[in-house]
């Protein structure tokens, strides 16, 4: 099987995150592999291992689009167990919205499928920075592939992928033929950590760098120029300030209701 896992380097949510520059794009200093992508990587590794792993010709390719720093998300993926890394990087990509990002990623996936077809594209359910969940669906639309999103379990057999999905009012089983784009939730597995062996092995794995020219995309199709949306203004929200804090003296429940009544929330 040939599986492409989309990995994104995102600002660490443990710290304050910032928008900067004319396009109000996310400041990517202090970035890490998006936590939600680790579940996609783990799912890919399990599918590959169940088929005999890399020795049997199974490939798990970690693909990241982004500036120089994005290579760290790829390196971490290789340490965890991906067989190879691909870094799509080009100055013209900066400021790409979901539509432009999906265009570039679709071209990259086609490029990676030129020698042997890609069976599966796996992604997290959302990035932890943009949080829009748009890219997997847009990638599927651009590649003309079925999308199976928010999978909480995944099974691939005989050219078909079967997944479970949980919505608020119902759960469902869905099925699609391969190739397909699949996004997974944090319920699907327990991602492994890189171990010493993995970290050593990662040093010998290759990372291919691709530019827009390599994947046949014109710079006008991506970045600010190729984006269909523009952020026109950004304002840092004033931090929430603490209000009234009381210590329960036996009547805090009643004081709580008084507060709700005063706020007209009852």
């Amino acid at each position: 099987m040939k599986i492409v896992v989309l990995v994104k380097h995102v600002p660490d949510a443990q710290f304050d995150r910032h928008l900067s520059g004319e396009g109000h794009t996310t400041d990517r200093d202090e970035s890490i592999l998006s936590e939600l992508d680790e579940y996609a990587l783990e799912a890919a590794l399990q599918l590959a291992e169940a088929r005999g792993g890399a020795k049997a010709g199974n490939k798990v390719i970690a693909l990241s689009m982004g500036p120089a720093g994005a290579v760290n998300a790829i390196k971490k993926s290789l340490q965890i167990g991906a067989t190879e890394g691909v870094h799509l990087t080009d100055g013209a990509l900066a400021g790409s919205d979901a539509a432009a990002t999906s265009l570039a990623l679709a071209a990259a996936v086609r490029h990676l499928g030129a020698d042997a077809p890609v069976d599966l594209v796996l992604t997290g359910m959302a990035s932890t920075d943009g949080e829009t969940s748009l890219v997997p669906a847009q990638l599927a639309e651009r590649l003309g592939l079925p999308q199976v999103t928010f999978a909480s379990s995944l099974d691939v057999d005989g050219g078909r992928v079967t997944a479970r999905r949980d919505a608020d009012t119902h759960s469902e089983t869905v099925e699609a033929s391969l190739p397909a784009v699949v996004s997974v939730t944090d319920q699907i597995n327990e991602p492994r950590y890189p171990n010493f062996k993995g970290i050593i092995a990662a040093k010998r794995k290759s990372i291919t760098t691709l530019s827009l020219a390599d994947i046949g995309v014109d710079s006008s199709q991506v970045g600010h120029a190729g984006s269909w949306t523009r952020v026109t203004a950004a304002e840092e929200r004033p931090p929430r300030t603490a209000g009234t804090i009381i210590t329960d003296e036996g009547d805090a429940g009643i004081k709580l209701v008084d507060f709700l009544a005063a706020q007209k929330l009852l």
Binding site: D166, D168, T229, R237, T244, A252, L266
Partner: protein, 317 residues
């Protein structure tokens, strides 16, 4: 010709509040058409008229629900072409956002998600990075696709109701070809509580509940609220993962968020940051949640919550 198109997926017997909000926003942008998938009851159709929908577009095929996302996006793209809509509004549910995503590619239209307000010129307002920034964004394309969060406006019927005309639209023949098929669906037991994402009030519990969600559920029911939970509580298996609020769960922006036994680690704060009013109950006075609470109680939630529940019941008489 209508210039705003609202998508309502399976309206059921009565339109949801979030659908009424979309219709209210649509009217402020221009003449409204509605695309409806699934059954449309007379009551729901009447409400669409009362909210000013001039036309209702319905799919010719009945099997859009048998597939994930793609055929609904294809149907909606066909309706957008036919109605000449320049703005399409959808609800901000996971599926709503994905339909918006694919629709955007089909129409070569910019998509903006998590929208909380729309100006007359189509500029959208939203908050990003877990509520730490508010941004305005605009599509640069002839058509704009917006998914709008629930609780963004107060629903208001049109000054004069209209009688919508109904038009049937064929989704493109290839709509289901590259789509994942739903092979089985099980309804979950209805809790009778509002949906977490749409709820006006959310009562959420965390580690401090020690496995007992009873006090949270009882307070939620007294307030007509949805029940939420921290990741610690869902990971411990005390409550279903559906209830999880935060970075890897649901982002909610209710009028009132009551946090009980949640310390307020950054991912949890992220989930509640955009609530209008935050109340926190926690034993530990050092909990970070008190830094953002409008009203904080340092105390035992097993005392405070039941007392509040009783008091609410008494006042509601």
């Amino acid at each position: 010709m209508a210039n705003v198109l609202v998508f309502i997926d399976n309206p059921g017997q009565a339109l949801k509040k979030s659908s009424l909000e979309l219709l209210t926003i649509a009217r402020s942008l221009g003449e409204t058409a509605v695309a409806v998938n699934g059954e449309l009851s007379d009551d729901a159709a009447g409400t669409l008229g009362a909210y000013g929908a001039a036309s209702i577009f319905r799919p010719a095929a009945a099997d859009l629900d048998d597939y994930l996302v793609a055929p609904k996006a294809a149907f909606l793209a066909a309706v957008a072409d036919k109605s000449g809509a320049t703005t399409v509004l959808l609800e901000n549910s996971p599926e709503g956002k994905e339909i918006a995503a694919r629709l955007g590619i089909r129409l070569s239209a910019g998509v903006i998600t998590d929208v909380i307000a729309v100006d007359a010129d189509g500029t959208a307002h939203k908050s990003v990075l877990a509520g730490s920034y508010t941004t305005t964004a605009k599509a640069t394309t002839p058509v704009t696709v917006l998914s709008v969060k629930a609780n963004s406006v107060d629903p208001e019927p049109a000054a004069a109701p209209v009688t919508p005309e109904t038009v049937t639209v064929d989704a493109p023949a290839d709509a289901t070809a590259a789509a994942a098929r739903i092979t089985s669906r099980e309804q979950k037991v209805a809790s009778g509580r509002p949906d977490l994402t749409d709820a006006r009030i959310v009562v959420a519990g965390g580690r401090g509940l020690d496995g007992d969600f009873g006090p949270v559920e009882e307070l939620a029911d007294a307030l007509g609220a949805a029940v939420g939970a921290s990741r610690a509580a869902t990971d411990a298996g005390w409550i279903s993962h559906d209830a999880q609020v935060g970075q890897t769960g649901k982002t909610v922006s209710p009028q009132l968020y009551i946090s009980a036994g949640i310390s307020g680690a950054i991912q949890q704060k992220a989930g509640m940051q955009t609530a209008k009013v935050i109340v926190a109950v926690n034993k530990d006075a050092e909990s970070p949640v008190f830094e953002i609470a409008d009203f904080g109680i340092v105390g035992d939630l097993f005392q405070v919550l039941p007392q509040a529940t009783e008091e609410i019941k008494k006042r509601k008489g």
